[in-house]
Symmetry: C2
DNA sequence: TTGAAATTCAAACGGGCGTTTGAAGCGAAA
DNA sequence: TTTCGCTTCAAACGCCCGTTTGAATTTCAA
């Protein structure tokens, strides 16, 4: 793995182990955060040896970096939400599309939801690994949110106002995805099926568009 | 401490040690969360012996419970934000007052800010101790937020709509307080002085009241 | 001043953590 | 079939964790 003049392709079993470790690590880090997620639990879930993490990724940190890479790529890929797609819609349509897309993990308990949970952990106490990752460019959710709010705000808005509004919009869907488990229990008891998701998109879009005063 | 027939009042030094431990624990738990905050660091900050935590509070868990008690009491006390005070204001005034009060920790780096950070940790992965604390009643920030949004929403709104709107409002100031440190750095570089706080209140109140479309 | 209770203290315990180690297993090229 | 490098494996290492222990010290009523 370390020799520059290595010719042999990685064997199948290498890729299998690596993939299993990354998948297990994604689940564990999403559940317990970086500090709280242990290598022992990850390797146990991946049915791999403890030392495999150090062998394949150089350590817990390297494995986490791999998970973050997959996470950022999942958000970067155009299939998720395209910037041009937002521009083609009406401002209202772009807003609804944005909210809908970032609320999807509520009903699709998929990979993306795990990534969002990892980001939630990082929002409380960023790890150095994570900080290095987002240092290059703001997370996609912020860039897309800025694109949406700029459709509404006048050209001459101060950059501070734009930032306030962008953050205000971006955190709205993140909150519901992050807190989904808690909101499912009393005293809130919110169950998110497809219909509830649509109603949530409606409510948030209405509030974001016209505010409380519209009611 | 454990005998039922104990008559003697707690000595001064007991209260001093207890208070120092609670203060140090508040800072440490706010910084690192419950799991991440170590008894060794707490006792070191409080200039107390490691065993003091177990002697005075029965263990790390008991000390944390004491911190949470102080935190919830700080939010419950009327001086912070009174429900009747909200009702006496106009809907718009109540909204502004609510936002201002819960954004205050941005400029007053005080005890309340530490409590909010502890709640932020708990929002990602609630500890059993914390869950037991809020099981009895929803946190005050939610109850007050519901009071505010009910001023705007029509009587016949579904409880789900009220809950959506309440959560939507409640999380707005929490986000900025929780992320204050991150937002102070690039790429956001938001510095929160008294003036910036007022502008943030203005922006959020405007967005919450009339939405993006008003711009 | 005395003596018992309350409090502090240094040291140790058991356990989980990430990582290292060196031998064993494995597969493909020779 | 032999050989050699890649991969796996069980075991151990050193570290930090929360807690326990029992003796030393302090406190304060009698």
């Amino acid at each position: 793995m370390s020799n520059l003049d290595q010719v042999r392709v990685a064997s199948r079993s290498t890729e299998v182990t690596r993939a299993a470790l990354i998948k297990a690590a994604t689940a564990v880090f999403a559940e317990y955060g970086y500090d709280g997620g242990s290598v022992r639990l990850i390797t146990q879930k991946a049915m791999a040896n403890q030392a495999a993490v150090n062998y394949h990724f150089g350590g817990k940190d390297g494995l986490y970096r791999e998970v973050l890479l997959a996470a950022t790529q999942a958000f970067e890929e155009n299939a998720f939400l395209d910037a041009e797609e937002l521009d083609a819609l009406s401002p209202e349509g772009a807003l609804r599309r944005y909210l809908h897309q970032f609320l999807l993990p509520l009903v699709k308990r998929d990979r993306v939801c795990r990534y969002l949970r990892i980001f939630a952990w990082e929002s409380v106490k960023p790890s150095e690994t994570f900080s290095a990752f987002i240092a290059q460019s703001p997370p996609r959710i912020f860039r897309l949110a800025e694109r949406v709010v700029r459709r509404f705000l006048p050209q001459e808005s101060s950059s501070e106002t734009v930032t306030f509004a962008m953050l205000w919009l971006a955190q709205q869907p993140m909150f519901f995805v992050r807190e989904a488990e808690r909101l499912a229990k009393p005293p809130f008891s919110l169950k998110f099926d497809d219909d509830a998701l649509e109603r949530l998109v409606d409510t948030l879009a209405g509030l974001s568009l016209r505010g409380l005063a519209a009611f």
